[in-house]
Amino acid sequence: IVGGTPGNSPWTVSLRDRKGNHFCGGSLVNSKWVISTKQCFSSCYVDLTGYTALMGTLYRNPKQGEPGMQSIPLTKIVCGPSESHLVMLQLETPAQFNERVSQICLPPERYIVPEGTMCEIAGWGETKGTGDEFVLNVAQMSVMSNKDCNEYFRGRVRENEMCTSSFQGGVGACERDYGGPLACQNSDCWVLEGVIIPMRRCGHPGQPNIFIRVSIYVDWIKKVMEM
């Protein structure tokens, strides 16, 4: 996260490869499922042996036995509808919810989150020197309409994507944040409105951030969890 500060995001998980390295983010949408982006995985049939989701800690390299930390193997990957760039990852055992680990809400189907809504992104990825990569960083941003966003991206932003406003100081997600959440406030809770996907540049001054619009795929998410 470029331009963020250390923060708390109990639904954000760190996806770990076989060597235990953090390589992407994800969001807990219930105790057994994490949503992330397909861009982080080599295929819809990748062998997930040795891959895990780490949660309940603010540190990228937590000490063994850190209280509240949970590391759960991933057992299944389900690819979302084409163009969604989303994947659902099943946990081998349910995550234990507590003050450090919780699930994020899903928006209503095909809902358009209003412009100006306060949101935040979270991740342990590249900070480009603007923060400490060894703790979870969070950055606040507000929703920008696709219409306005398309002015900057000259019409390339699609309906299944959404944008947040740009900052002259440059704020945004970066390497190893991909798959993490864009969580937006809704009265007293947080809703997963977007999923971080790779962009041409990250934290580029004046550039809005683009995310996959989760509400388009809530029906698919629920179907996977039910099936």
Partner: protein, 464 residues
């Protein structure tokens, strides 16, 4: 610090079955560990292999033969692993081949070997015994001759001749950095013996065979699971954790042919075959040239990894990372993924189209977008169906045709015949010019109760 298992080549889920006529020469041991079983076989001259079953009771059966089709045969047995002494199954030699116990009996010029017990046509001083391996007329090297295994010949004009048994380091050569090497070299360049990959002593390591099934981390053979410049292994020397192996490079470099799997404007899988010209990271930092060592020193020399396409400063994946990457031109950032390169769509061609959300689709496509055959709606294997002709009688759930009984906004789908994929969307696209409506609802009326709660006060207390 070496394991007796180092003497053996393991065949998982296999057992050696002797022919009826020689099955009486078996030695059965129970309640014995695998290592002990191997030790006793190693120390016995009659034992050339053993079957080992860990469950229900650890059972070890010593065998006087290896798989050769005449005296013994290998059969599948998921409860059993077969261990055969390498010297009897190896088709190549290590060092001078003094321990070669293969069954070649012809010399390099094609002459038949003389039986070792015979003194005719050539008299000699070697006498077979249970330990020197001078069996029948097989090539052997009882006197440590540098030419390797040899034999006396049945040609009166030629007393003896080499059998030209290949050295293991030459028998299977390597291309590029040898990550595909599956040969039987089990010593390092300095002659240290390799540690077995499925053991954690004397060196603990992460490359456990079951975690890296695609790396063929067999026994203690040299392998290259981490994209090192050449195959290597952990060694049985406690002082030396790992060392490269000395394996010949194939004489000719693979011809620079344009592999059909190479892609240039997207990448498949981990992107090992990406050969495009993107040369900056996702965050827009220029990549460092592969043939440069500044600002970052690295082991990925283009001529060592000649099959990885390490040209210029293009994003590449020479080491099996998750996606194409490069060393960056910024001293503070050593490497970065190039995840802005699109993944190639691995959907197959759409075979039909549907209107609106496809709820009324009645076509006969029965394949998913990945080309997997659909499961019949009326059966429950491999997947138990929650949606079927009984639950949705009007949805025309016939055969295994793609349908949309639940009005899924993303189109017709089916259960799949792939046990790992419950359901998937079909190789059908929306008919031209149609888009599902976006519904603007006000979330204010929606109440969320068990989700999205966070206690913001505690962050500082949890930071060290």
């Amino acid at each position: 610090h070496r394991s007796y298992l180092n003497d053996f080549q393991r065949s998982e889920g296999r057992e050696l079955v002797l022919k009826p006529w020689n099955a009486d020469r078996l030695i059965l041991l129970t309640e014995i560990s695998l290592e002990k079983c191997a030790q006793r076989c190693s120390e016995s001259h009659d034992c050339r292999a053993f079957n080992y079953e860990a469950r229900p009771v650890p059972t070890c059966m010593h065998l006087p033969w290896v798989e050769d089709g005449t005296n013994a045969e290998v059969k599948r047995n998921v409860n059993c692993d077969l261990y055969q002494k390498k010297v009897y199954v190896r088709k190549c030699i290590v060092g001078k081949g003094e321990d070669y116990r293969g069954k070649v009996w012809v010399t390099q010029s094609g002459r038949t070997c003389q039986q070792w017990w015979s003194k005719f046509p050539h008299d000699h001083r070697w006498t077979p015994n249970p330990t020197n391996g001078l069996e029948l007329n097989y090539c052997r090297n009882p006197d440590g001759d540098p030419i390797g295994p040899w034999c006396y010949t049945t040609d009166p004009e030629r007393r003896y001749e080499s059998c030209n048994i290949p050295r293991c380091k030459d028998e299977v050569c390597i291309t590029c950095n040898g990550e595909d090497y599956r040969g039987q070299v089990d010593h390092t360049v300095s002659g240290r013996e390799c540690q077995r990959w499925d053991q954690q002593f004397p060196h603990q390591h992460i490359y456990q065979p079951e975690k890296y099934p695609d790396k063929s981390l067999d026994d203690n053979y040299c392998r290259n699971p981490d994209a090192s410049p050449v195959p290597w292994c952990y060694t049985t020397d406690p002082e030396v954790e790992r060392e490269n192996c000395d394996i010949s490079k194939c004489a000719e470099a693979p011809a620079r042919r344009h592999r059909s799997s190479y892609t240039t404007n997207c990448f498949r899988g981990r992107g090992e075959d990406y050969r495009g010209k993107v040369n900056e990271t996702t965050s827009g930092i220029a990549c460092q040239r592969w043939d440069a060592q500044k600002p970052h020193e690295h082991p990925f020399y283009p001529n060592t990894y000649e099959c990885k396409g390490l040209e210029e400063n293009y994003c590449r994946n020479p080491d099996g990372s998750e996606a194409p990457w490069c060393f960056t031109s910024e001293p503070e950032m050593r490497t970065a993924l190039c995840l802005q390169i699109k993944r190639c769509a691995d959907d197959i061609e759409a075979e039909d189209c549907y209107h609106e959300n496809g709820k009324n689709y009645r076509g006969t496509v029965r394949k998913t977008r990945k080309g997997i055959l659909c499961q019949k709606w009326s059966v429950n294997t491999p997947h138990v169906t929650k949606i079927n002709p009984k639950t949705h009688p009007d949805a025309n759930l016939t055969e295994n045709y793609c349908r949309n009984p639940d009005g899924d906004q993303h189109g017709p789908w089916c259960y799949t015949t792939d046990p790992k994929t419950e359901f998937d969307y079909c190789a059908i696209k929306q008919c031209a010019g149609e888009k599902p409506p976006i519904i603007e609802t006000s979330a204010q009326v929606i109440k969320f109760n068990e989700c999205g709660k966070r206690d913001d006060r505690k962050v500082t207390t949890r930071l060290r």
